[in-house]
């Protein structure tokens, strides 16, 4: 196992693309949120002030959301790149010829994204602690770690994006198409899919005159769309501003629809999706001619 990690390290430590992506991540992630002091001088009600960004316990949510975007942009690409670059350099082929089995090669990639997720989570924890402690007067240990499993969720968030990128890399194999697919699926296709499904069903229900009833009962269809893979994974550390309407809707009797997934659903669901991504990638890789 260590040999495989050593191998990947030798391969990529001098790679300028990876160094740029990881470097930007390490540099920007800890400090980006501090820009909120200027950008968000006035925050939407009912938030009292932008201090919630930096104080415990909410800093875990806000920094987590910053991390969400950072991982999506910088680390997800790494997941794609470590696969597609070796296809275009034909070094994947050469690795197998030299003696690596397909399983070992695949495991090396999985280990790499595990390590990357650990590193990302470490950066999250350290930066959040640093920001939180310096902005929360009189913080005690109980308050500092009142974060509702934020750290575990962040690790899963990172692994979710990385394994999604890895899977696309293995399925598509060409870096341009892979990156395009990764971006458009997450940013456009899945949200569009959500709205299409909801739209279809609400249109049907309106025709049948049962729209208000369906919204009142625990209509599984409407909530089903929130379980689409990337939506679920993103809900591990969603936009904290959405927690407000979500809480509102949750306690509202007339509409039985939530904006965000219940957190334990997000945790278990993301584990399942990560395993599915990895399995799909593995099956496609083992069978292929390369």
């Amino acid at each position: 196992m260590l040999t495989l990690l050593k191998l990947e390290w030798y391969k990529f430590k001098s790679n300028s693309v990876i160094n740029l992506l990881v470097g930007l991540f390490l540099l920007l992630f800890p400090i980006l949120i501090l820009g909120g002091k200027d950008l968000f001088e006035n925050v939407p009600p009912p938030l009292p002030s932008n201090k919630v960004f930096y104080e415990f316990p909410t800093v875990w949510d806000y920094q987590g959301y910053v991390g969400n975007w950072m991982i999506f942009f910088f680390l997800g690409f790494v997941g794609i790149f470590i696969v597609t670059s070796e296809v275009s350099y034909k070094t994947l082929r050469q690795n197998i010829i030299i003696g690596l089995t397909r399983k070992e090669y695949f495991n090396a990639k999985i280990l790499t994204i595990l390590v990357l997720s650990l590193v990302a989570t470490l950066v999250y924890v350290i930066s959040t602690l640093a920001i939180g402690i310096t902005h929360t007067p009189g913080a005690d240990l109980a308050l500092i770690f009142d974060n509702n499993w934020a750290i575990t969720k962040f690790f899963l968030l990172s692994l979710g994006y990385l394994s999604f990128g890895l899977m696309i890399g293995f399925l598509v194999r060409k870096s341009g198409i892979a990156i395009f697919l990764y971006m458009t699926y997450i940013m456009f296709l899945e949200p569009i899919l959500k709205f299409l499904i909801i739209g279809l069903f609400t249109w049907q229900w309106e025709k049948q005159g049962i729209l208000s009833e369906m919204l009142q009962d625990e209509s599984p269809i409407l909530n089903f769309v929130n379980y689409l893979p990337m939506n679920l994974i993103e809900d591990l550390h969603p936009n904290p501003f959405l927690r407000l309407p979500d809480n509102f809707l949750r306690f509202n009797d007339e509409i039985n629809y939530s904006v965000l997934l219940p957190q334990n659903h997000a945790v278990f669901g993301s584990i399942i999706y990560i395993l599915i991504f990895i399995l799909l990638a593995y099956r496609s890789f083992v069978k292929r001619d390369i």
Partner: protein
């Protein structure tokens, strides 16, 4: 000891049959040439036995199954082009090969000097000429002291000096006792370096055996006379004439190396045949090859 056995190896790409029930048997110490025109299936064969491609039918076994799926650790191979990380230098690329082979401290210096890349070892691979890339690939195949070395068209695209260098290295590897498998469409190369050869065309094995017997360069004599029938009977009946072949208005006879055109002339005269045409020449290798691969 049997190094590689393939058993009715078959590979199709849609309707195209790239390999058709190929049976090969390579023994330890052979310098085995896989000879065939472009598109005959050489690279496909190598791809399958090296785990890159999946066969559609049949199978293969390395080293009598001794090492199982890890057989490739005992093999050093170049398939088609030399594949390395362009942003890494020679030393770093070789280090990756060594890591996969499980070799902790290969003698980089010795290897690089063997292929004359020691001077440029710190330059990135992308700055290398084709000849240098090829030489690095050869160095990489030798890491871990493999028992079998496989080369796919090793001198492709090289200038004459590059070709000579590569052939030298190959010869030295062959002389050191390793088993060598070499795919090529250059007959001259195969004849000079190999001990055994398998000739493939359109995925089918046409001939296999020691180089001497398959690709002999026996001398030829072209003869013609007024009475062609009588000449034909005479030539066919001679022990020292291996083959008589009618081409246009002459007979092309493959004769034993120990006799010459002059001997044929004398024999014909002794039998009362006056030859109207006699030319002695060495058989061109291409003719051999083309004859074997001729559509029958």
């Amino acid at each position: 000891m049997s190094v590689l056995v393939t058993n009715n190896l078959t590979k199709k790409y849609g309707k195209l049959t790239a390999l058709d029930n190929l049976n090969l048997n390579i023994e330890a110490g052979n310098v085995y040439g896989l000879l065939g025109p472009n598109g005959s299936g050489k690279t496909t064969t190598l791809g399958i036995i090296l785990g890159i491609l999946h066969q559609d039918g049949g199978g293969y076994e390395w080293f009598d199954g001794q090492f199982g799926p890890k057989a490739r650790m005992k093999i050093g191979a170049i398939l088609e082009t030399p594949n390395f990380y362009p942003y890494l230098n020679a030393y770093e690329n070789l280090r990756i090969t060594a890591t996969i082979k499980g070799i902790s401290n290969p003698d980089y210096e010795k290897l690089l000097k063997l292929v004359d890349l020691y001077e440029r070892r710190k330059s990135k691979f992308k700055t290398y000429s084709l000849g240098m890339k090829q030489r690095l690939a050869i160095a990489a195949t030798l890491i871990g002291k493999p028992e079998v070395v496989i080369f796919d068209e090793p001198t492709n695209g090289l200038d004459p000096q590059g070709i000579a260098e590569v052939r030298n290295i190959l010869k030295r590897i062959a002389d050191s006792g390793k088993t060598v498998l070499m795919a090529s469409h250059i007959l001259d190369e195969v004849e000079k370096i190999c001990s055994h050869v398998a000739i493939i065309k359109k995925g089918k094995l046409l001939a296999t055996g020691p180089v001497g017997s398959i690709l002999s360069s026996d001398p030829l004599v072209e003869v013609a006379a007024e009475d062609m029938e009588k000449l034909f009977d005479l030539m066919s009946g001679l022990d020292l004439v291996k083959n008589v072949h009618k081409i246009d208005k002459i007979f092309e006879c493959t004769i034993d190396r120990n006799i010459s055109a002059a001997d044929i002339n004398r024999i014909a005269h002794d039998h009362g045949i006056i030859l109207t045409h006699i030319v002695g020449r060495n058989r061109r290798l291409e003719e051999e090859f083309l004859e074997i691969t001729r559509d029958n």
